[in-house]
């Protein structure tokens, strides 16, 4: 089962306007799925992660409804068919 990314509006200019992106090949971890996402759509990478490969401070990533900060970060395991959401945090002035 492929995993599915929900792409927020601010990043859709880098996914050809797509709201959902499917990644084939049953990635085992979130890191694997993200690698596959940005192999497909390179512009997404630098918006989600900084140049040291860490998820940006005010970007939240969820596997299903679980915030990955509490499931193992980038190494979080991905159940088959997972839905991954990328959502900017509530912050700013």
């Amino acid at each position: 089962m492929p995993v599915t990314f929900n792409i927020p509006s601010g990043l859709r200019e880098f996914t050809g306007g797509q709201r959902k992106v499917h990644v084939e090949g049953s990635p085992a971890t979130l890191a694997d799925a993200l690698s596959a996402l940005w192999a497909k759509y390179p512009g997404v990478r630098d918006r989600i992660a900084n140049e040291q490969g860490q998820i940006r401070q005010h970007i939240n990533v969820f596997i299903g409804e679980e915030d990955i900060r509490y499931t193992g970060g980038l190494m979080s395991p991905l159940p088959s068919g997972s839905e991954i959401s990328i959502i900017p945090a509530v912050s700013g002035g």
Partner: protein
């Protein structure tokens, strides 16, 4: 040897043999880990003193903790045999990886950058490798480079030529010279004093070999090889080797050490710049779905034409364009561009026929440097951010505080001052950027501390006459000057007071808010400090207080009149605790005698209930006659004076807090240079059809 115990390591199997000795896989029985054990051959010209020296050097090398340097755990001596216990690296030597054809250029750049990074660390610690060669460099399965045998070559000479490993070392009677002949620099062969620049020569040989599969200086005998090294120019490497890589190799292989790079960190930065150029260059297949240019919709665009005069205004929620003509009486507002993004820095580049606006944008999606060649209708949005900290720094870009154009005679040069405090440079019109390592590696850097706004390099001042000289200002680090084009930097803060340390006049650590220079008077600088107004008349060596008669010497912005070097403008605020204009009156102060005295300018500015702040880049002067002065406030108002400060008018109110203001005088661009400017942009802008989703959300 198998089964023997040296120190607390049991020898398991032989891995290889080189000029210096035999290498074994061994097991450290105390720490229960596999290690590599090198036993130095007897009778390789190692007398007792040399043996002791080798031990010392190996101990020094063991302090080099770096991901690309094979770690030395232990050195010892047993029964007259010297042995070195080191990290066991599972990998292939670089010359095996290169084969006869060489490696793909991306891999060469990646490996080369890691080798240069390892050399930079060792050289900083005063350790020269002296026998860098592809056989001494291992590449692990995941592409990590490990440089072996740091500093071990000095004392050991070997007198044989081994064609299989291409290992050859000359040995004079007292074993002073050592190394491997095809990698030896001319000065080493001449028997002259050698230093870290001889390692950079060897790095050039390694890069050449890795890129092409052959050595740059070849021969059947030692004499032929030496002669080629001393006199010949290597055969040029053409495609697929990128020209940028070839020019780096050439510079490493300059016969005179002075003509080479002077630091390994410079080679590293150059390799990274070529690498990042390839990531974003047009010769790659277009990225699927990643338009290089974004058109902003639902934004008010102004038609800008020749003869117009514009202000670029960066705010905490986006950028705006204010358009007028040379009379500067009526103004129109365009924008907002980049809804919701903080725009700390803007610049207008009209060099070489361009009409380009630069802007830095910061949001939760990171910081980007973007440009527009059509006055804001479309903006570049590179899929990969070109300004990025190299991986060995462990840092990531937080913000771009300053965009500075290079000198007019260097129209493709740009600088960016960023947070965390660092300077980036581009020499190709902003397509690729490299970290200025000379400043980044400054020993003071770990002791710079963040100011209220973060640890930022926010000011860049170029000396127009002396091309090797420039200044930067860092909060809170102070002023630094280079006189050698960025290779080395000197703290220039003598006389500038700090309030946040027990020592009120430290060498560095000042919270400098802004410095300016008049191009006609490059030795003179004016400085607005976090408390304190100063002038230097000796290129920043000494600073003298000039806050004579201002109501407060606290402030952020300082601007110099473009034609009168004695005329300077500041906007004092009350104090560190209350960063608002004094007594609720917005007043610009001007000196016309380089700070001997100051006069308030207030006609047309609010003089009641006006608690304003003008931030460090929110004041600018134009280049028209009479000169216009502009200030933007934290309350989102922009005031303009088109008569050098005598009379003011509010030209817009109600913007988000203003972070920066820059002028753009729209000249005519000659048709031929315009075409050149367009051709040099890569990738070419692709205009996409309007789509609501492309608009940045607030």
């Amino acid at each position: 040897m198998i089964g023997q115990v040296l120190g607390h390591c049991r020898v398991v199997a032989k891995i290889g043999e080189g000029g210096m000795g035999v290498v074994y896989r061994a097991h450290d029985e105390v720490l229960d880990r596999d290690v590599a054990l090198k036993v130095v051959k007897k009778g390789v010209g190692l007398d007792q003193t040399a043996g002791q020296n080798l031990l010392q050097e190996a101990r020094a090398s063991s302090s080099l903790a770096h991901p690309n340097i094979c770690t030395i755990y232990e050195v010892g001596e047993t029964e007259g045999e010297l042995y070195i216990v080191m990290e066991l690296v599972e990998g292939k030597p670089l010359h095996v990886m290169s084969g006869d054809q060489g490696m793909p250029s991306d891999a060469v750049l990646r490996c080369g950058g890691q080798i240069a990074s390892a050399l930079a660390r060792a050289h900083d610690r005063g350790i020269v490798h002296r026998d860098l060669k592809s056989a001494n460099i291992l590449v692990t399965a995941d592409g990590q480079v490990k440089v072996l045998d740091f500093g071990l070559a000095r004392q050991v000479g070997v007198g044989k030529y081994d064609a299989a490993t291409r290992s050859f070392a000359t040995m004079q009677e007292t074993s002073v010279i050592s190394g491997t002949l095809p990698y030896m620099a001319p000065e080493v062969l001449r028997g002259e004093a050698s230093d870290y620049r001889s390692d950079l020569w060897a790095l050039g040989v390694v890069l050449y070999e890795t890129a092409s599969g052959r050595l740059p200086f070849e021969g059947q005998t030692a004499f032929e090889i030496s002669s080629a090294i001393m006199r010949e120019v290597p055969t040029p490497l053409g495609p697929p080797v990128p020209p940028g890589l070839w020019s780096i190799i050439q510079r490493c292989l300059a016969k005179e050490p002075m003509q080479r790079y002077q630091r390994a960190s410079e080679v590293q930065a150059a390799l990274e710049a070529v690498q990042s150029a390839r990531m974003t260059s047009a010769d790659r297949a277009p990225e699927p779905g990643g338009p290089p240019t974004t058109i902003l919709h639902q934004v008010r665009h102004l038609p800008v034409k020749r003869g117009d005069f514009c202000l670029l205004v960066g705010t905490v929620k986006g950028a705006f364009l204010l358009r007028s003509n040379r009379q500067r009486r009526k103004w129109e507002l365009g924008g907002p561009y980049f809804h919701g993004n903080m725009v700390y820095a803007m610049a207008y580049d009209n060099r070489a026929g361009r009409r380009r606006i630069w802007a830095s944008t910061q949001s939760y999606w990171g910081t980007q440097l973007r440009s527009s060649d059509d006055f804001g209708k479309s903006w570049t949005n590179p899929p990969e951010s070109p300004i990025r900290f190299p991986s060995d720094t462990g840092l990531s870009l937080k913000n771009i505080w300053q965009i500075s154009l290079g000198r007019p005679e260097e129209p493709d040069v740009l600088y960016c001052g960023v947070e965390p405090a660092a300077l980036f440079e581009s020499r190709d019109d902003g397509n690729t950027w490299s970290l200025v390592r000379g400043l980044f590696d400054h020993p003071h850097r770990p002791r710079w501390v963040p100011g209220n706004g973060g640890l930022a390099l926010h000011t860049i001042v170029l000396d127009p006459a002396e091309k090797q000289r420039m200044y930067v200002a860092i909060s809170a680090g102070g002023v630094y000057r280079t006189d050698d084009g960025g290779a080395t930097w000197k703290a220039c803060n003598r006389g500038i007071k700090v309030t946040h340390m027990p020592n009120k006049y430290p060498e560095f650590g000042q919270c400098v808010h802004k410095i300016v220079m008049h191009p006609a008077h490059p030795g003179r600088l004016f400085l607005q400090n976090h408390g304190g107004l100063y002038r230097s008349d000796d290129y920043g060596e000494n600073w003298n207080d000039i806050g004579n008669g201002v109501p407060s010497d606290f402030g952020f912005a300082v601007v110099v009149h473009p034609r009168k070097p004695e005329c300077v403008y500041v906007v004092p605020v009350e104090s560190d605790q209350f960063r608002c204009t004094c007594d609720g009156r917005l007043r610009v102060y001007r000196t016309r005698n380089a700070g001997e005295s100051w006069e308030p300018l207030m006609r047309g500015l609010p003089q009641k209930d006006s608690y304003e702040t003008v931030l460090r880049d929110a004041m600018t002067a134009d280049s028209l006659d009479p000169v216009g002065i502009y200030i933007g406030t934290r309350s989102g108002q922009v005031f303009a004076s088109h008569d050098e400060g005598r009379n003011w008018q509010r030209i817009v109110g109600g913007l988000p807090a203003v972070l920066c203001i820059r002028e753009a005088l729209i000249d005519d661009a000659p048709a031929s240079t315009k075409a050149v400017a367009r051709m040099k942009r890569s990738p070419a802008p692709q205009k996409k059809s309007p789509a609501k989703s492309r608009r940045k959300k607030k």
